[in-house]
């Protein structure tokens, strides 16, 4: 809702067409390694390792090659190997991949540890767990007069503990069109049986509906990057720093747990 008010105000302001280019000299920027790694049961270990850059640098993605990347779980250490051609799955690219025959086991609430050392001697570490997925009990649709529908899911939440979720509604996972993407916690839930509606509408047809059960670190990371993105271009917002669980760098190392359905909108 805050974004809505800010959006309306900013649109009103910007629509006056009083915008011009300006030169902002930025100070010297110290690049840091950026990690993106989602541990997913049934999938091999995959990790993206890149660099942060000065804001006005070339729009390329500097990758970090030939780093030592290790993930340890229950005393067993797996090495992720550098891929000169990134491994692309579902539109995502990872430049470090583990043994593809060695899939992540279903092992909830046990610790995974990440260790990275690059050729410049920079060391990064992180830990995470995989939470058990929270299953969607029902998926239903509510149509508006224009024939488009919001997607409403119902699920059961454990009110006795803080829980964090990400709810996604997409037509084509590989497209960059607007997707339903809501990040929330159970802080304001009043019952354990909860329903959430997407903020986008979809036409009749097939869609993917996903409910992710997030670790607290991943929830903090997602909200912080959303806040940082919102602060750019918003005259009413304070800046936000990225809350990362990577020691020695930026990014996220998290277990990924979700319930994903391919359903017909009807």
């Amino acid at each position: 809702m805050k974004q809505l008010i800010y959006l309306i105000l900013v649109v009103c302001i910007v629509s006056c067409n009083r915008t011009r280019d300006i030169n902002i000299p930025l100070p010297a920027f110290n690049s840091q390694p950026v990690v993106e790694c989602y541990i997913e049961p049934g999938q091999p270990y995959r990790l993206a390792l890149t660099e942060s850059v000065s804001y006005f640098a070339e729009p390329t993605l500097p990758i970090i090659p030939h780093a030592l990347v290790l993930i340890t779980h229950r005393g067993v250490t797996d090495t992720l190997f550098y891929q000169a051609v990134p491994d692309s799955i579902d539109g995502k690219a990872y430049n470090y991949v583990g043994d593809t025959s060695n899939k992540v086991a279903v092992d909830y609430n046990s610790e995974f540890t990440l260790y990275i050392k690059d050729s410049l001697g920079r060391v990064l570490t992180a830990t995470t767990t995989i939470l058990p997925p929270v299953m969607m009990d029902t998926i239903r649709f509510q149509f508006n007069p224009a024939g488009r529908a919001i997607t409403i899911i119902q699920f059961t939440d454990n009110l006795s503990t803080p829980n964090y979720y990400r709810y996604l509604v997409v037509v084509d996972p590989k497209s960059f069109l607007e997707k339903g993407d809501i990040v929330f916690s159970n802080e304001y839930f009043q019952t354990s049986e909860e329903e959430i509606a997407s903020q986008v509408t979809v036409e009749r047809g097939m869609i993917y509906v996903t409910l992710m059960h997030l670790t607290p670190e991943y929830y903090n990371y997602l909200t912080s990057i959303n806040n940082a993105i919102s602060a750019n271009g918003n005259p009413f917002a304070q800046p936000a720093s990225i809350q990362s669980n990577i020691h020695g760098g930026i990014g996220i190392f998290t277990g990924l747990s979700y319930d994903r359905r391919y359903v017909l909108v009807q």
């Binding site: 809702m1 809505l4 008010i5 309306i8 302001i13 009083r18 915008t19 280019d21 300006i22 902002i24 930025l26 100070p27 920027f29 950026v34 993106e36 989602y38 997913e40 993206a48 890149t50 942060s52 850059v53 804001y55 006005f56 729009p59 579902d90 509510q142 508006n144 007069p145 996604l168 997409v170 996972p173 960059f176 997707k179 993407d181 304001y188 009043q190 329903e195 509606a197 993917y208 996903t210 912080s224 990057i225 940082a228 993105i229 602060a231 750019n232 271009g233 918003n234 005259p235 009413f236 304070q238 800046p239 936000a240 720093s241 990225i242 809350q243 930026i250 990014g251 990924l256 994903r260």
Partner: protein, 763 residues
Amino acid sequence: MKWTTFLLFLLTGLFAKAQTFTIQISIKDSKTGDPIIGAITNLIQQQTGDASDANGNVKIVAHAGNDTLQVRYFGYKTYKKPIHIHKNTLLHITLEEDTTEMQEVVIQANPNSDVLNQTQMSKIELSSEEARLLPALGGETDMLKVLQLKPGVKNGGEGSSGLYVRGGGPDQNLFLMDGAQVYNPSHLFGFFSIFNSDAVKNIELYKGDFPSRFGGRLSSVVDVHMRTGDTSKIKVRGGLGLIASRLTVEGPIGKKKKGSFIISGRRTYVDIFTNAINKAEVNNTKFSPIPGYYFGDLNGTFEYRFNKNNSIRFTSYFGRDNFTYNDNPFQFKFIWGNFVNSFNWKHSYSSRLSSNVSLIYSSYQYALSDVSNGFSLTLESSVQDWTAKVDYTYKLNDKHLIEFGGSATSHNFLVSRLNAGSSDGKIKFGAGQRLYGQEYGVYVSDQYTISPRLKIQAGLRFSGFNNHKVYTGLEPRFAVRYKINERQSLKASYSRMYQYVQLASNSGATLPTDIWYPATNNVRPEISDQVALGHQIMLFGEKLFLTNEVYYKPMQHLIDYKDGAQLFVSNNLESQFVYGKGWSYGWEFYLEKKTGRTTGWIGYTLSWTWRKFDSINNGNLFPARYDRRNDISIVIMHKLSERLFISGTWVYGTGNAISLPVGRILVQGPIDSNPVVVPIYTERNAFRMPAYDRMDLGLIYKLRPKWGEADLTLSIYNVYNRKNPYFIYFQEVKNSAGIVTNYQAKLVSLFPIIPSITFNFKF
């Protein structure tokens, strides 16, 4: 026998000379009955006197004998009559307007000599007449924006009526309307103030040296005095402008005309046109509806004088902003506003002792609702106050003026009450808090004239707040004036202030969704200490008046918000707070010309404002967002003829501090999510906006209708159409294939050149 007679005569004369009496004078406008503030009243032979206070009252302690009483005020004929002083006396004097003096422009009530005599420093006075002479945004006179042209008072950005006084934030200003606190003094997200210039008599802004009767805010007191209605006959005045129109009706109450009323209303009407356009295009599927917005004010003041010792006054204000956006199935509504009421009873016990008792109700609320696609959400916050206060003034003798009193306020806060759910009732969730607090204060102060050169004002305020935890504070107030000669004075002051209610705002601007939050077990009251030194001098006779002041103000227990703070919806808002310190210091230069056909002022401020929070900026010192090193304002008003008046303002300020990203990363996200470029922010407020520079011009042309008075007021805002900075953001630059090729910083400006014309009338 001759010796006996002589001795008797001598003793009688000596005895008579030793006796002093108090002359209490009430000074009012002969036509309107308005009290005249700052009228210079003196006994010519005894060379003693004072200026009238906010109620138009003045007390002079004089020796018995014959003298001449003189009362002077610019724009009025001088009152001068012999007086025989032989007992305590109460006089009611009315002054007649002197139209022959209108060849000169009068811009301030208190003449310079009176300002030199006072211990009071760091104070600005602004009358509505003065404010109306200056060009205004959209032709809508805004007294708070005129205050921003004075040194030491900054705005929060282009078009904002928020006040940032000596390094303090917008929540550190105590706004009073006839003594009643106003929580949000702005309309339209800060672009206009709620104070209708037709309803306001004058504003007194204290930047420091706070009188002991005030408390509760760290940085300023904005004391708004509302007009009293005309006691002679019914009068109507108003204005038709491009943005809003105003109407005021005033007149006497009762056959004996012992009372008066004044009712003022104001409303914008852009929404009438936008609603008509939306209605006409309702069947056009390609048409995007225009948001609707309006604001309205209603002020009323009723006063009745029972006798010379008793009068009552009731002031009420109701204001609302209403923003709507309907684009089926999306319906959004946002309303906010103040409701303020003040009942006041003035009583004179004697010529030396008087009291002022007030009962006040004040509330501010906002409510936001959104309905779309079968899902609804409402969010509201409010604050309600009930206040009782009493103030006494006691003139002990001609050297001591004592003030004392107390106040008690009961606060009721509703913080972020959220209700959301689906229209079929299957989805439901909520949040919010209700908090209470009792705030109180007692004070005493003495204005002591030690000698003709040396005068001090010493006071002490004891304040407290109770919200399951009791906080108390002693607030010393001290001021001294040393008169070097008849033309110049040195002044110094010290004030400690406590603030028990803070504004929770995660924005760089005052927004209606900002939430007032009380001190609690975890949230301590904010404290400021301010010392100020000043020098004032009259130049070229009394034609120019130069004031230089320096100040230093450290602040404790300031509140800011942790990164990513959730202020909009929370069951425990204070878990989002972080605590730290602040410092502000600076120099203010103010040169003013008050009389003649050409009047105006030059103001310059050099200032620094710092903050330090352990949880922000790695605990390092950083400048506040509204830290602006240099501010200049030049205001000129000139009477060309009896019918033509022109004015101009020029403001220049070096850039505000802002936070900009210095780096970026790409986050592709897991399955089903879109990749995003995420900015990296490092140091807080490490960058500066470009300088701000603007000129406005105004022209008033008086018409001569048979039915009354009228004028056309032309204002041109931003005469040279400068694209002044409002905010900066970074944007992707894409080629025709939609591929990002570059990143570019963009500067957004708000207002271009805006001419406006207003028709004002009075009959």
